[in-house]
């Protein structure tokens, strides 16, 4: 960018999208003394986010020291439960550990509260937060992004940061992303059920202020690729299903019917009994892992968070917000350096790509690059739940016949299962490699 073009700007940086990624990058750059505009299409920050999630929030301490105490988080997650759910049985791997509370590793959050708080921090740091405006185009001159357009207005800046979520119209406008493959996308359908604080702690066996997160596979999706989730907020439970779009379409299943079926499942309904429906909604979710990440940088533009395809479902953990924050930190550092140098070329902004690859975000995306393909296997959703239940039924069903060793019981269960020895070996090997 020339010196003239540099002088003719309204802001140093325009950040599009006031979610976790957008707010963290805006806060970092405003704190560094840069002129930052944070544009959000929702009426308020958080208005467009679907209710909340489990936030693996250790990264936020780098940005907001004392984050867990200061931010409006719901519960500290100290119980993680992987549940294989069948129509009339379930097998849970239930892990509770007080070490997860000190230091705090994960919290449940409601995004309407969290994003509003994050935007307030940005304003306090000097960023201008502008909700209620939809960025509908980029200003691109000679291949260089020089600002944004919203309706009749055009605003010029040195760097645009696209943090506008999984559908990122900004990065599509810049030619950095095309339409995603349907097996890289899932639809999440979620309800938030209001319950008394004490009732939640009783039903989920929790200490005061602590929370549980369930990842569920099997009967919650009736064989459709994806899974169920359930986590506790302070006075509500967020619960729903995430369904891979390609599989949902192939089977002609209804996402809302599967959601309703999960909430009314005989082993799930008791958690929610007497609760009050507070929110209900649906949202696209990035599920493609590393394969979804494409170009992250263009002259004058960087893409962060879910707009960059940064989301990771390992089957055990579903991560997005921590990756968003990590990418925002890396991007803010690179953009600050580019502003210092007065050079907004991919060579300088490319520092972001490099930092991302070296930090936990890029490394985890690489480590779990095989997870999406592994989770596309149908046996995980259809067969392993009943197989596990059959093994345990053989152990616990003392029907006066002589007992067998566990290995023989498992062999018998396997013989009556569609899962063969070869499948088991192959899936075990793939699981080890993917997860």
């Amino acid at each position: 960018m020339t010196a003239d073009a540099d002088a003719d700007v309204d802001f140093d940086v325009i950040v599009v999208g006031a979610g976790v990624a957008g707010c963290v990058s805006a806060f970092q750059l405003a704190t560094a003394g840069r002129g930052v505009l944070l544009v959000e299409r929702g009426a308020e920050p958080g208005a467009k986010a679907l209710s909340g999630g489990v936030f693996y929030c250790r990264v936020m301490e780098q940005v907001f020291p004392g984050f867990v105490e200061a931010a409006p988080v719901e519960r500290v997650i100290t119980r993680n439960c992987l549940s294989f759910l069948n129509p009339s049985s379930f097998v849970n791997i239930d892990y509770g550990d007080q070490r997860l509370a000190s230091p705090v590793n994960a919290v449940s959050v409601l995004r309407a509260k969290l994003d509003a708080w994050l935007a307030e921090q940005c304003e306090s740091a000097g960023a201008m937060v502008m909700p209620g405006f939809r960025v509908d185009r980029l200003l691109i001159e000679d291949g260089q992004v020089r600002g944004i357009g919203a309706g009749e207005d055009e605003l010029r800046c040195k760097v645009v940061i696209a943090a506008d979520g999984v559908n990122s119209f900004v990065s599509r406008d810049a030619g950095l992303r095309s339409k995603d493959r349907t097996n890289h996308l899932a639809v999440g359908v979620k309800s938030v059920i209001g319950l008394d604080r004490a009732v939640i702690e009783d039903r989920f066996n929790l200490e005061d202020g602590q929370g549980a997160a369930y990842a569920v596979v099997g009967d919650c999706t009736k064989g459709v690729g994806g899974g169920g989730f359930m986590y506790t907020n302070l006075e509500s439970v967020s619960i729903g299903v995430v369904l891979r779009l390609d599989d949902l379409k192939r089977r002609g299943a209804s996402a809302t019917d599967l959601h309703d079926g999960f909430l009314n499942h005989r082993f799930v309904a008791p958690f929610l009994k007497g609760g009050e429906l507070l929110e209900y909604g649906a949202h696209l979710v990035a599920e493609g892992g590393l394969a979804m990440i494409r170009d992250l940088v263009k002259p004058g533009l960087v893409v962060i968070g879910e707009a960059a395809g940064l989301a990771l479902n390992t089957g055990l953990t579903v991560r997005g917000m921590d990756l968003a924050a990590g990418s925002a930190i890396a991007a803010a550092r690179a953009v600050d350096g580019a502003l210092e140098a007065g050079d907004y070329s991919p060579a300088t902004l490319g520092e972001y790509r490099q930092s991302l690859q070296e930090c936990f975000v890029g490394r985890d995306m690489e480590t779990f690059r095989r997870a999406p393909a592994f989770l596309e296997g149908t046996r995980m959703f259809n067969d392993y739940g009943p197989l596990l239940a059959d093994v345990f039924h053989g152990v616990y069903n003392l029907d006066l016949r002589p007992r067998r060793h566990l290995l023989k019981t498992a062999r018998a269960a396997l013989r009556s299962s569609p899962v063969g020895w070869l499948d088991l070996a192959r899936d075990g090997w793939n699981a080890l490699r993917a997860l």
Binding site: D153, L155, S254
Partner: protein, 240 residues
């Protein structure tokens, strides 16, 4: 003439969640522009005339630059007055603020059906007459304000002496909301801060009736089948 437009003096009722107990949960809702606030601004501008003065006034934690982005030259806020359940107390706080803004010919406020008592109570606190449901206003040659309002199928025209409180109602959506540039420029302008003591509330809200809910119907099938089913449903409900 000098007119004050009062805006963002309540939270949007759409932000409230009524629990099954009747308790109202406002969450993190802030004071926001009401549906009638743009109409109130139009009425204030009409009363002030081209040579007059429109002053913006808001309370609480809402974005005070709202009026500045819509062409108002000066705006004031009383941030220490939060949302109050007692409409007379809200009006009392607004009256305190109005008195600090000097001689005024008219105070215009949205005639919000969710808060029907505020405009009359404001007039009572100020000791001025009030006219509600105002649709439009103009200045007459003799220094009076002429307003029109709908009364059933008729349109009333009323000539008023000043000072007066007017409750304005919107006929539709805001004609031209400000763009991003206008909003950014407005956010950079100074906003005066008034010191207003939060009045004691004589009324508190403990619970409310839940709004009526109508069940949703999902019409499945192929698009053509769903469209046909929709038409049948609409005819069945007497809407077609």
């Amino acid at each position: 003439m000098k007119a004050i437009v009062i805006y963002k003096w309540a939270r949007a009722t759409a932000s409230a969640r009524v629990r099954e107990s009747g308790e109202v949960d406002w969450g993190a809702a802030k004071m926001t522009a009401g549906d009638d606030d743009p109409a109130a601004l139009d009425v204030a501008k009409a009363i002030a005339g081209a040579d007059g003065d429109v002053v913006g006034l808001t309370i609480g934690d809402g974005e005070a630059a709202w009026a500045l982005a819509r062409g108002v030259a000066t705006a004031f806020t009383a941030p220490q007055v939060g949302p109050l359940a007692d409409e007379s107390a809200t009006a009392g706080a607004l009256a305190q603020a109005v008195r600090q803004l000097g001689e005024v010919d008219a105070v215009v406020i949205g005639d919000d059906p969710a808060h029907p008592g505020v405009a009359p109570a404001l007039a009572a606190h100020l000791g001025w007459p009030v006219v509600l449901a105002v649709g439009s206003a103009a200045l007459s040659g003799d220094g009076r304000v002429v307003i029109t309002r709908k009364a059933g199928a008729e349109v009333e025209t009323i000539s008023l002496v000043t000072p007066v409180v007017l409750g304005a109602v919107a006929a539709g959506e805001e004609a031209r909301p400000p763009g991003m540039m206008e909003t950014i420029k407005a956010r950079k302008k100074p906003i005066g801060e008034l010191s207003v003591a939060a009045p004691a509330e004589a009324v508190t809200s403990t619970q409310t009736r839940r709004p009526a809910r109508s069940g949703a119907k999902l019409l499945g099938g192929e698009p053509a089948e769903a469209a046909a089913a929709l038409v049948t449903e609409l005819r069945g409900d007497g809407l077609l």
